[in-house]
Symmetry: C2
């Protein structure tokens, strides 16, 4: 918590209110993924934004990063407990978009 928040919503949005964060979290809902596989699922993301975003998510404790000491590198990301606790919200946001599109 590095900023004052008069409203918890504000706090939440500072954590996940960016273009790519919710998308990455969403794609990890079904389980951990290897870095390259996850990145390919996020259509349109640049390589830079991908690593930058997963780094922030890791710093904020929303995902974990497991490094296998092999060559070429192997890295797996998965939701932390804290990240998992966003599941209902992520699915609700997705569902809302799905239904709203119809109109």
């Amino acid at each position: 918590m590095n900023k004052a928040h008069h409203c918890p919503l504000n706090y939440t949005m500072n954590l996940i209110g960016t273009k790519w964060k919710p998308l990455i979290l969403f794609h990890l809902l079904e389980g951990g993924l290897r870095s390259g596989v996850l990145q390919k699922k996020i259509l349109g993301i640049s390589n830079k934004m991908f690593t930058q975003t997963v780094r922030q998510l890791e710093e904020d404790g929303l995902i974990t990063r497991k490094i296998y000491p092999v060559v070429p590198p192997k890295v797996e990301y998965q939701l932390s407990t804290r990240g998992q606790s966003l599941e209902a919200i992520l699915r609700a946001l997705d569902q809302w978009g799905l239904e709203d599109c119809k109109s």
Copy 2:
């Protein structure tokens, strides 16, 4: 819909995934508010960002704007039906922040 979305979540975030939009919507959940009153509730927002954001929300059909032809001006904002449909999500985001803060 001005952008391609491979995932409805993406669509939703393009609508409300900014610093101020969710906050403004959230403060309208309890009912319509006069412009000045609403703005004072959003601590830290600049006058420019306030009008700019409510304009976008209106364009996107998430809030309505009622103008009373008096002097000095009187304007009231309230959630549209589409905006109301975000209620569960807004409250969930707020609630999540509240509980996450504890840790």
